[in-house]
Symmetry: C2
Subunit: 557 residues, 2 copies
């Protein structure tokens, strides 16, 4: 009789741990308990299933308990709730949801993969019909059947995180009028305010009403059915409400068993996924991790991290410590994440500029618009790279990339670079793959690194759109727009003065020496030329608007 391995939870991390343990230990008895009907499903695909981008339920739920039994000799018990853990006797007490029968499952190694659950805020009307969360396949089934049966015309999505944004898009694609309600001014989290404003603009341009900085006060309805949402700012019609205000780790079982829980509320684990009890592992959305950049505790519940954690716990559970493979560890994450909303690709990794400054870094950033491949190759589209580094260590700290072009590639390059401690100098000389269908000769990542090097080397000063907006109206500031007159006429920042770059040298007498000058163009290139011309003529308080008008997300005239 081999090792007895018990796993609680059967979505990504749990099934990964079980499958990996089986591969390393042919003789182990492996049992997985789950409350749900479905196992090993792709939770991240749920918004797309709701929007019929993914048409078939079976595409999300690839494997069933029978296949785990047949292929891997893994016993999955569905509709079975783990009630408690008897750490002394190494047993899980479980109950069958259908027959109410309670029983015990003994373990030598226990893996907790209890996941996270959607937060349901305690507001009046939260339990009305037509109010949904979107966390499990079962949730998606309910939401889809409601849409099918009731054909809602209006929906409120509460929460401007990734799931909220993806859900807003997918509901809108079904012809439903969507209002997105988010209590923060800036969303989604993980983006600097000016970058997130670009995302918000895109959502609005695609017909979604966005209420930012508003709290949900109540959901109101009649005859048990949701009809409207009352917020701190007013009331909006909503035949359908999707609550996407976030998730919290499912740690009841772990806490009752006396396992350590981190400050962020997730189960404390070391880099080998061991909880404070060496026989018990925790993986996936219920487990804490570490922020690789800060060393702080972190919690980023994502399928990618869940799979890595599951593999490590499965390795440990399936083999004695010190045996092959057992050295693999998850030192932490960067909070890398990505989502698509209305054709806009939005990705990020590491720290934002604001976080970098808050943590005391001598942070410097740039905002660089660039085509995602050779500008002359068909299909080239623009992206905007916000890159952040520490001026003193020259280390890359973080990045945000947004645009209709390819953003996952630069984000992954940057996540890799940050993980391995790259400086901006390293970044600027990376030997990245170049051919016209894939990249420009100077890849966007490298262009951004070069702009940041210019700033770090004192060859260029810039101001972010966010910082500029905060200073609009400052009489000390001269906004000098160096685009052509036709471009300027179409739209410009209120109060700016237009001198096309070609005329700047001859008209330099018109530029007020006593002011701090912000030079503005479309993407930053002409502004840089103008900046250099002004610097060469003795102006010393000059900076450019980082990324130019094409990344300026605020109102213009």
């Amino acid at each position: 009789m081999g090792e007895r391995i018990v796993v609680i939870g059967a979505v990504a991390a749990g099934t990964k741990a079980a499958a990996r343990a089986r591969r390393l230990d042919a003789g182990a008895a492996i049992t997985v308990l789950t409350e749900e009907n479905d196992v090993s499903y792709a939770g991240c695909g749920l918004p797309y299933y709701v929007g019929n981008v993914i048409k078939e339920r079976r595409e999300l739920v690839v494997r069933d308990p029978d296949s785990f039994k047949a292929n891997d000799n893994i016993q999955i018990m569905i509709r079975t709730r783990a009630v408690s853990i008897d750490r002394e006797r190494k047993r899980v007490v479980a109950v069958g949801l259908d027959d109410g029968r309670e029983f015990e499952v003994p373990y030598d190694a226990l893996v907790l993969a209890t996941g996270a659950k959607a937060i349901l805020p305690d507001v009046p009307g939260i339990h009305l019909d037509g109010v949904f969360t979107l966390r499990s396949v079962a949730d998606a089934d309910l939401l889809k059947s409601f849409i099918g049966a009731r054909a809602p015309r209006s929906a409120a999505v509460v929460g401007g995180g990734f799931i909220g944004l993806e859900t807003a898009e997918n509901l809108a694609s079904l012809g439903i009028g969507v209002t997105l309600i988010e209590m923060m001014e800036h969303f989604p989290p993980g983006f600097d305010p000016d970058m997130s404003a670009l995302i918000g603009n895109c959502v609005r341009e695609n017909g979604v009403t966005v209420l930012a900085g508003e709290r949900v006060a109540a959901i109101e309805g009649s005859r048990g059915l949701a009809q409207s949402v009352r917020t701190s700012g007013g009331s909006i019609e909503a035949d359908l409400v999707v609550m996407a205000v976030g998730v919290r780790p499912n740690t009841g079982l772990a806490m009752e068993a006396g396992l350590g829980v981190s400050r962020n509320g997730a189960i404390l684990v070391d880099e080998f996924m061991r909880t404070t009890d060496p026989q018990i592992y925790a993986v996936g959305d219920c487990a804490a991790t570490t922020n690789l950049l800060t060393g702080d505790g972190a919690w980023f519940p994502l399928g990618s991290t869940a799979n890595k954690m599951g593999r490590i716990a499965g390795t440990r559970a399936g083999r004695p410590v010190g045996s092959a493979g057992s050295s693999q560890a998850l030192k932490g994450v960067l909070g890398t994440s990505i989502f698509k909303v209305f054709g806009l690709n939005c990705g990020r990794t590491g720290m934002t500029l604001r976080e970098s400054l808050d943590r005391g870094h001598d942070a410097v950033s740039c905002t660089v618009p660039a085509p995602d491949r050779a500008h002359y190759y068909p299909g080239a589209r623009d992206i905007i790279v916000r890159l952040i580094a520490d001026r003193s260590t020259r280390r890359v700290l973080g990045a945000q990339v947004v645009g209709s072009g390819v953003v996952d590639k630069p984000v992954d390059i940057l996540a890799t670079a940050i993980t391995l401690g790259a400086t901006v100098d390293d970044l600027a000389t990376l030997d990245l793959a170049y051919a016209p269908p894939y990249s420009s000769a100077m890849a966007p990542t490298i262009t951004a690194a070069n702009v940041l090097l210019n700033k770090m080397d004192g060859l260029l000063e810039g101001i972010t759109a966010f910082a500029l907006k905060a200073r609009l109206g400052d009489p000390e500031l001269l906004l000098l727009d160096v685009r052509s007159e036709p471009e300027f006429i179409v739209s410009h920042i209120d109060g700016s003065v237009n001198i096309p770059v070609e005329e700047l040298v001859e008209r330099v007498g018109e530029v007020d020496w006593s002011k701090e000058i912000v030079v503005i163009c479309r993407v930053g290139k002409r502004a840089y030329r103008a900046y250099l011309a002004l610097k060469a003529r003795g102006f010393d308080r000059v900076e450019i608007l980082d990324g130019g008008m094409c990344t300026y997300p605020y109102d213009t005239v």
Copy 2:
């Protein structure tokens, strides 16, 4: 009067150096000499211009001398040949190609960006009409006008490198019957033989006749016009011949001036692009560089490297040593490259498996087919990742990625990782961007790293398709195909035995204990299950066919 900066060559590296120098030194007198009519053009786009993928010439030639004059105060002298360099008197002797007038240009800093030229092998008929190279816009103009005027029905492309493959595709897309002639058995360079065989298969499947391992003996024609190509293997009809057998650095000027030239024939430079004369820099396709992995001299003429080199030389030429920005250096390259041929994306970085073994590494590799995004997300396509590492240092050494899916992203992640000294363990836990439209939860790079870890940790043994092919017919070898019977019937390796994985345990008695067993399935997953089952039952000489039948590029029955 400022510094006098002279640049010879005005494509990528030369114009980059000039523009960067101008940005750092407003007062310098900057002169660029070029023999050509066109400047600052996208040489890498030429095959696509020939194939009308890029329709307009002006898309390739974005800037002209007037714009350099107006925007950057850079004087570009076209149709001007640099004849010699008088290092003593710091003067370039030049001659105007139109008027034959010779003159001298004095310099304080000189940047050589003389590029590379297409190799024209010394075979009979090489100067016939209808024989072309494809290196400059002028070459492309000639080729396009020939195609327009003569409507060739058949073409021979000589050379199976990236340019040859891209040209073959683009000529075929015009309806021309193309024969690709390459003297090596395996091409393009930089790919292991089995990976390159996948590329060759794709080219053949798209209607190009491939003659590998054949040399061109002569080009034959009548009335001065090419009609056929005679090779070591026979003769093929060709109204049009494109010679794409490679390029060599243009170093005549540098050598005559007594500058050091590296063993690979390119101008010797340090990491700041300084030649052996501290007043002279060399950049772009004429300049040598270093292989970051081996420390050896290297020469990879590519637009991406040219731009980096140009920027560094421009910084140095435009500013005194020690001033801001002057610390930027190019330590070397990995030989990262990528090309597209008939919808197949092919990228690589670092060392091949063969190179790794040749250099004495304890090299281990894997071949992993994987979808480029969530398998259930619309548009998901497969890629094949060959990953190579050193077993003792655990360092990643190289990668090749081929497929109809996204390959530039994994190649760039891997190039970044290798540059920064990543181990396979680092790779397996990278926090890469995950959402269904962009990646599977386990990104292909991470899956490949995990497979390689299994091998390095002794949990899996494998054999490459190339190594297996070399051993076909070995009576010691038992080929055990564990796919289903219908899959096996469609095609399998000659001599293999079929036991579906589901039946393996009960039919294990049929497996010959005395043999070395190679387990085969479609992608490697079922083979791994079978491998584990056999190992658990005491078989010890077992390995899987890396990547399975879907990456096996040789004949089957």
